[in-house]
Amino acid sequence: MIAIPSRHKSLTLLAAVVVAQVFLLAAQIKRERQVRLIRVWAVELISPVQRVSSWTIYNLEHGWGNYISLRNTRQDNEALRSELDRLKVRNAELEGAAREADRLAAMLNFRQAHADVPMAAARVIGGSPDSGSQVVNIDRGSRDGIRRDMGVITPDGVVGKILAVYPDISQVLLLGDKESGVGALLANTRTQGVVRGSGKPDLSMDYVSNDSKVSAGEAVLTSGQDRIFPKDLPVATVAEAVTDRKAPFMKILLKPAAHLDRLEEVLVLLTRQDLDLKKEAEASPAAPPPAARTPASAR
């Protein structure tokens, strides 16, 4: 018999037999942590493919997400900016409304605490064009029962008095005006004096003798002597008290109790009836609504 060898056939057979035995070995051998070698090979064989696949998918997604799908981003961005601006305005409006609600709530609380005292709530609608005087206009006038020299207050303290009355608006001379004055007393010693405006943020208290004991932070209340404000309304607190040896009276600087520089709503006292300020603390928000109209319901 003549045998014609096939070199390729025998080489293929050799490779197959060797590879089969290599796999046979791999199936038996355990490497570190008792993992069979064939598993190690399988993982090492597959992991580069997985890595490349993962890298490719990640970059495709990245490319898609960062470039292709951003075609309309400019328009979206402009729309979002516009929306943001609109929301900023809306937010400012809401913040303002919230602050107003707080103020009105405080005023309502104050009004409920003194429901027996006739008073009218008013909104500040303008100021004086004269920078030297401190005058504001309120949206209440003679038709609402407002009269000249009526006291104007906020829950924080005295604001001023009615300077002029028109049918629908009134002018209020603020406590800080140079022409303004309020009869007052020191809360601790009941020492009386007159609080005057200076045209500046601070007030002064005159006619307090040098031998009086005045301490910083002490409250100054209305005395009722001016026949405008009832007794014991907060006017200011003592900021500084200096004895003037050349004069018989002390030099006392005060910080107003009411926020005269940012008034928005005020209460006009329709009579000079005294207010019992102790009742204010006991007032409940759930108390019956006041007789007077609030600014929001005034018009």
């Binding site: 003549i2 056939k9 025998s10 791999a26």
Partner: protein, 176 residues
Amino acid sequence: MESTEIYIGPEPHIEVHKYYGGVVPAVVVLALVLQAFFPAHFRRANYLELPLLVTLYFALSKRNPSSGLLLGTVIGLLQDSLSRTPLGLYGIAKTLVGYAGSSIGTRIDVEHPIARFLLTFGFYLFHHAVFALTSQLLLAEHNETYISVPILIASVVNAFIAIALFPLLDRFRRPS
């Protein structure tokens, strides 16, 4: 009865020998048994590598790479089965020896004692190198050296044994 085949290949004048039925399996089993027996009783016998000699002998004689590598595979796997090595370690080494021996047997005269000595010497080193390489790559065992004095001594010892053993095995050939 035709006992000699004419090989048509690179060296068409070289004869391909055949053996009586059952000779090859018997010789393989005997070699494996003796390989297990001698080292257990004679300390110096661990130089012996009878399965390798049998693989090489039949590869050189039959001169067919396919049958040579398959016989090497079988002998190697049997040796692995009888020893503590993982299946395939001796198998791969003897597969390559069977293939290479058959390929060489088709090209040169392997009947001369000196040729048999040199071939056995070389194939012993080749077999050990494949064994060491496989151990390192697959088993991560680095205690196998490729060549050393004991290995050289073993290769020389097996080469001398081959000079004596191969003529003995030649007697089992079918007469031409």
